[in-house]
Amino acid sequence: MGVNGRKFKADVKVALKRSVLDPQGKTILAALHSLGFNEAKDLRAGKHFEITLEGRDKVSVETRVRQFCEKLLVNPVIEHYSFEVEELER
């Protein structure tokens, strides 16, 4: 274990903004419909990142994860994101 001590897991979800067309999502939705799952009304495809990281506490880990997103994981021109952080062990 590193100098920061505590271990956390971040679940980051990234998806295309509503204002951006998502042809992949549309195609997957059409495939669900062709299988008879007609109750599916809308589908947006996205990405999911599971990140294990160390940190001092939950608040500082959340700040870092936000930086991961803004610097690399997300392109703010077309995507939005959300994430959850949980502590793995103490």
Binding site: L21, Q24, L72
Partner: protein
């Protein structure tokens, strides 16, 4: 004129660019490996097509943080010409040297074919030898060439004459039916505000000799040579 072609892991048009610059444009050209930090003395920087870093995460997103890119960005900020072709265009977008982003092609298909594009401005070092309205026949080869930007950015690109090329018919009609990938406003290539950075999806280096069925791409190298 001297040129440098940046090589990322996964670049696959680097040799085509090198070959055309050396044997067709007849300029002094060298490769610039992505791990190097100091750009050799050069006038032109070429970011070639390919699948840098396997296009993981987003096209161009990881290449953009290659050590080489710092000096490419400095070169661009000094007002010197940088051309990004295909994956190179995607890298320029991710690096913030050009506005907007690339999406998957509307059809979700990888498209590899010759298309026509209309030159929209002669006011750039890349197009000064091409009369506005000239239609070029160049190939595209991409899965993510669907250029996207918000309405404000689009308005600026239009008003500042920064759209270099639009997809069109052979006669130059820039309507939706000649748009291969869904790009906003049929955009195939754009310039930065200072007009020294060009990003384009079509491949001029694959159409600079008649053996490859078109030499329209040569006009871009000729413009750069002035």
């Amino acid at each position: 004129m001297k040129a440098a072609v940046v090589v990322f892991p996964g670049s696959n048009c680097d040799e085509d660019c090198f070959q055309v610059l050396k044997n067709v444009a007849k300029v002094e050209v060298q490769y610039f490996w992505h791990k190097e930090r100091n750009l050799p003395p050069t006038d032109l920087v070429v970011l070639p097509g390919g699948f840098s870093y396997g296009d993981y995460l987003r096209t161009g997103a990881i290449a953009r943080f290659s050590p080489a890119m710092d000096s490419v960005i400095k070169h661009a900020q000094a007002g010197r010409p940088v051309i990004g072709i295909c994956n190179g265009f995607q890298i320029l977008l991710e690096a913030g040297l050009l506005p907007g982003a690339m999406l998957r092609n509307e059809s979700l298909s990888f498209i590899c074919k010759h298309v026509y594009l209309r030159t929209e401005t002669s006011n750039s070092p890349f197009t000064r030898e091409i009369k506005k309205g000239t239609v070029l026949n160049l190939p595209i080869a991409h899965g993510e060439g669907n250029y996207f930007c918000g309405p404000e950015t689009l308005k600026r690109l239009q008003e500042e004459d920064r759209i270099a090329f639009r997809y069109s018919s052979e006669k130059g009609e820039g309507t939706r039916e000649f748009n291969p990938n869904g790009s906003v406003d049929n955009i195939a290539g754009i310039l930065n505000e200072e007009r020294n950075v060009l990003g384009m999806m079509p491949h001029p280096e694959r159409a600079s000799e008649m053996i490859l069925s078109s030499e329209d791409g040569k006009k871009i190298w000729e413009s750069l040579l002035g």
